[in-house]
Subunit: 275 residues, 2 copies
């Protein structure tokens, strides 16, 4: 029998992937968690029927969420990742020698547990001595942090379920207060083909708080439309004015310093969402 | 009953779109041709089970295939489109006032006929007096053309069926001879996630003939992986050295002069295919 997993990315469109085997199916306190092995994308973490990460294309999302803000900041030492229980962003953060401490705040401990068990190439860096893992509510953790971080990355699910609070202006205000005076924040903000309104809303909410607010994109085949956006809010440092000497060689498969700059050149219809 | 069209982009992965209605199903002399209306992407042209174009996202492909070479050339007057019977590239070509004549050579006349009937927003410009439509073999047409064109775009299907000859070094040699001394050629060259070998092969074949050979990308949601590549071969003009004053304002939804430049910044794993 041939088994296929289909994610309906909208009511009328989806992707479908042939399944080799189902590795785990769990209802956690927060969401429906599945890890399946697919023929095309390797192992795949699926939360509430949405692809979160796959072994084959995860590098794009994780590299672009981490390295763009980390190279924009001149000397990031203290980094916070909200969500991201699969550990992929943390793995990329640790490639920066300036980072002394990386805190991961994931509300759903089961995501961490099962990622460690089944996705070691992604989650295997959560044991690093520079990493502190906290299983708690990222919204509350942010609200209780003051001038603590150089860079904060929000690696959340879509704004449904546990992530709803992470797409509010109250959260962005908290982020600003949790950042140091030259801090930088980045969030994944979905795709412009199916979620244009969300991008516009987040952009304006972030822009009301951060002097420098910019959108950048990356191609992620297993995410809706393949074109993903990231919204950056920065207090001082401009991601498009990073000096050439700031970039150092790190081991990546997607990110380059040239692509860092190019990722801010938006398709016209995407740019139009920001005006 | 709910009907869905599924394109298997690889043996183990695909996209699936809910169908509103089937408009036509024809076996032409060259391929299986379907035009369906989908809920998500509007009307969709499907050849041999592969999505060729949809009303909602066609602008990306057509703009990026046309405007990058046309703005790279300082004064394109004579343009040839090989394939492209849906008329989308021609529509974009006609936005350039310097163009005096645009020839479309499509091997399958039925693609033109049905595109005109069902996709008028795409094919409606084939009647323009500057356009000459020829229903014949593009490979032979190229072989019989000498120093005739400023810009040639190859808007073919994948290298199966009638398009096989369009992915050979003999064809690129013919293209070079059909171009004027400062001519430019661009071909769609599929995606780097599933067709890496094809990109490497075409790049090397083109590079053996054209002094300036470069790859650029665009996001096309209904094409495999969402990340599409275009390979450009140019005799003199460098697409990354276009002067700011060359760019004029044209009506686009994806292309901008900033994106023109940014499209050549490749993800590292794509750049690695070219070395």
């Amino acid at each position: 029998m041939s088994m296929w997993f289909t994610e309906k990315q909208t009511a009328n469109f989806g992707i479908t992937a042939k399944i080799k085997q189902t590795l785990t199916t769990v209802q956690t306190d927060y969401q429906d968690l599945n890890i399946i092995e697919t023929e095309e994308w390797g192992k795949m973490l699926v939360l509430d029927d949405m692809v979160m990460t796959t072994e084959k294309d995860e590098f794009v999302y994780h590299e672009m969420l981490a390295h763009v803000p980390l190279f924009t900041h001149p000397n990031p030492k203290h980094v916070l990742v909200v969500g991201g229980g699969d550990g992929g962003v943390i793995r990329e953060v640790l490639k920066h020698p300036s980072v002394e401490k990386a805190v991961l705040v994931e509300i759903d401990g089961q995501v961490i547990t099962y990622s460690k068990k089944y996705l070691p190439t992604i989650a295997g860096y959560l044991e690093d001595p520079r990493v502190e893992v906290k299983v708690e509510d990222g919204f509350l953790y942010i609200a209780n942090s003051k001038r603590a971080f150089d860079v904060i990355m929000v690696d959340s699910t879509e704004p449904v379920g546990p992530a709803v609070n992470l797409f509010t202006q109250g959260f962005y205000t908290g982020i600003s207060q949790a950042l140091k005076d030259d801090g930088i924040f980045v969030a994944q903000t979905d795709n412009p083909w199916f979620k244009a309104d969300l991008i516009t809303q987040v952009y304006h909410d972030v822009k009301a708080i951060f002097p420098i607010t910019k959108l950048y994109t990356a191609n992620i085949p297993t995410y809706p439309s393949g074109l993903w956006t990231f919204t950056m809010g920065s207090k001082i440092h401009d991601p498009q004015k990073v000096k050439e000497e700031r970039f150092s060689t790190i081991n990546t498969k997607y990110y380059t310093s040239e692509l860092h700059m190019a990722a801010f050149a938006l398709p016209k219809f995407v740019n139009d969402l920001l005006t």
